[in-house]
């Protein structure tokens, strides 16, 4: 029996799952990411450092803030520039608002229909009116946060190498703090709703990788850690991780040298740094009985819902009572090299640039969360199919699609 899901719906970008079952055993399974390459690393060469954030934002329409922030941090390291405390705080606010917004769309619009056996959010209008209104309320506020500091929620304009070109007046920030307060209950309701979903019973303990910091729930920088003992600076990224080309996929695949697959993303973050979550998120997670470590990849959706509570509460706290100074950006161009790792909504994102003395890119490398999760997802798909091997064709296909969506892959990012 052959199952071909040629164009997986409700994910970002284009990918397929192809599998072959013979006499009750799985013969072959491939995750074929056929999203066409755009060659970002190729045409970033010969571009000036100050164009890079605007270019890499276009790698992804869901997490442009992550690509911009990671590139900016890598370029600032290459140029020997230290960003101000205000810039670091604002980048954190931008990242949190984008993580919440990405998780909201993924949970409500992409993942949720599966659990109600529906094709899309369009079929949910009549039965789930209050849920959709809740999604709207929350999404509007978090988009406003990104737009207030970035200019617009998608492909923001004010984030540049060196800091922010402009800052909003204090009264607008205060207004948004109030609006964030108003959606805190919506976030908790979202978590309750997600925790009640019938997740398939499927566990597999893999290596979870995230970045960590003693100061807070690390997003824009920290040391790379795993529960199996990885502990290293972001500059040492290549000493542990290895990227390879795959014959059946346009996306490259990253593994831990000598070990193999691992998992990044919301579930990995919770498994590694649950204690660093905002108290509101910890409390909400305890209320629904969520415990770490959690080895069910479907629970990545649950972890995302917990991060929604975290993101809204932390954003609100970061913005309350702060007074940002008027930015002044002075960059001295020089030769250099920089690597930066951040936590995109979907997990570890790495940008690496080599600049010449005129600040022009000579070499660029970008490794995305979906490239990090590629092998782990493929292996888990195989285990999942084995577990449900006696179900009918439609059921196996649906389970595969659900697992892919639970990882929340971004195929556009992964190929770039």
């Amino acid at each position: 029996m052959k199952i071909n899901i040629d164009y997986i719906a409700r994910v970002e970008g284009e990918g397929a799952v192809k599998l072959d079952i013979e006499d009750g055993t799985l013969k072959d399974l491939k995750l074929n990411i056929w999203e066409p390459p755009r060659f970002f690393e190729g045409f970033l060469c010969n571009r000036s450092y100050d164009e890079v954030p605007d270019i890499v934002a276009r790698i992804c329409g869901i997490c442009p803030v992550s690509h911009m922030t990671t590139a900016i941090r890598a370029l600032e390291k290459a140029l020997g520039f230290t960003p101000s405390r205000d810039s670091i705080t604002l980048r954190r606010v931008m990242a949190l608002s984008q993580i919440v917004s990405s998780h909201l769309v993924h949970l409500y619009m992409l993942a949720l229909p599966d659990y109600h056996r529906l094709c899309s959010i369009l079929d949910m209008f009549s039965r789930f009116e209050s849920e959709i209104k809740r999604l709207n309320r929350m999404k509007e506020v978090v988009n406003k946060v990104t737009a207030l500091f970035g200019g617009r929620p998608l492909h923001p304009v004010s984030m540049v190498v060196g800091g922010f070109t402009s800052l909003p007046p204090r009264d607008k920030i205060e207004k948004i703090v109030g609006e964030l307060e108003n959606i805190k209950d919506d976030a908790k309701e979202t978590l309750k709703m997600v925790s009640a979903l019938p997740f398939p019973d499927f566990t597999y303990n893999t290596e979870y990788v995230a970045i960590s910091s003693p100061a807070h729930y690390a997003i824009n920088g920290g040391i790379i850690v795993s529960q199996n003992g990885i502990r290293m600076e972001e500059d040492e990224y290549y000493s542990i991780f290895e990227e390879d080309e795959i014959s059946y996929s346009n996306a490259k695949r990253t593994v831990i040298k000598g070990k193999g697959s691992f998992m990044v993303g919301a579930l990995a973050r919770l498994n590694l740094k649950f204690n660093m979550l905002h108290r509101d998120a910890k409390k909400a997670a305890e209320e629904i009985g969520f415990k770490v470590p959690d080895y069910n990849p479907f629970h990545n959706n649950l972890a995302q819902a917990i991060e929604i509570v975290h993101g809204i509460s932390e954003c609100r706290e970061l913005l309350e009572g702060v007074h940002f100074k008027k930015p002044e950006i002075v960059i001295k161009v020089r030769e250099g090299e920089g690597i930066a790792i951040t936590e995109a909504p979907r997990g570890l994102l790495c940008h690496h640039y080599v600049l010449n003395r005129r600040g022009v890119v000579e070499r660029a490398n970008i490794v995305t969360p979906t490239a990090h999760n590629f092998l782990g997802l493929e292996e888990n798909l195989k285990r999942l199919v084995q577990q449900y091997i006696h179900e009918d064709k439609e059921e196996i296909a649906l389970k595969c699609e659900m697992l892919v969506r639970a990882y929340d892959p971004c195929f556009s990012c992964s190929v770039h």
């Binding site: 755009r38 998608l154 304009v157």
Partner: protein, 279 residues
Amino acid sequence: MVYCFYKFILKMFHCPEEEEVVLKKKPRLGFFKYSCCAGCEFQFIYFQKYIIETLNNFEFVFCKMVTSGGTPEGPFDIALVEGTVTESWQADELKKIRERSTYLFAIGSCAINGGIPAIKSIHPELEVEKRVYHDLSAIHSIRPSAIDAYVHVDGFIMGCPPGERDLYEALTSVLSGKKPDFLEYSVCIECKLQGNICLLVAHNMPCMGPVTNAGCGALCPSYNRGCYSCWGPMRQANALALAKKFRSMGVSSEDIIRKFTLFGSVTTEFRKTAEFYED
């Protein structure tokens, strides 16, 4: 909102209420993604304030980010196409979509002017591709181009990400059966309306506003930075005159080429200007 607008039109022309029955037959919509960040589809399915109206007023025949199932075969009352054409199957499919669609709109800079993926077109293809893959045997990329290189396009919903005003205009036009009215002037007009001080004249900042199509509300100048033309060139913009102004301000030839090849590198307006400074 869309519905209210429609009711308003009916009222204006004294149409009887029964006419509303027409609305019950929802226009069939297809959304196609080629090589891009999927930001347009994302903007579309999350159409900010009008999401429920948008999703309720159209029949989603094909839109992979919203719904599983669906058919790319059509027919469509409205087809929206995002992304740059970078593989030959996309061009083949595009021609089929054109045949099966009443209206075909290009949405976003990639589909309209090649966008960021078309930066590749200013270099020899192999040179760029080799920097990314060692083994190119499974890579089948062609020179990036905008979709109107292959098919007739009925309207351009410009921007990166697409502007809400234009998206709203396109969708309501299809619902009410009128020709969409897109903006055909430069960012400078919007910048003046915002009351901004001109960055180009007063602050000597190389701003692409004078040659860039309006729609963003002069976002970058309002955030204290020069426009970088993410909306792409305004039709018949005198791009070379602006490039010469940049040169007189001390901007290097290399940087001028970069500015005119960031967005719209495959458009006549910007290509000609970049070529003027090459060599």
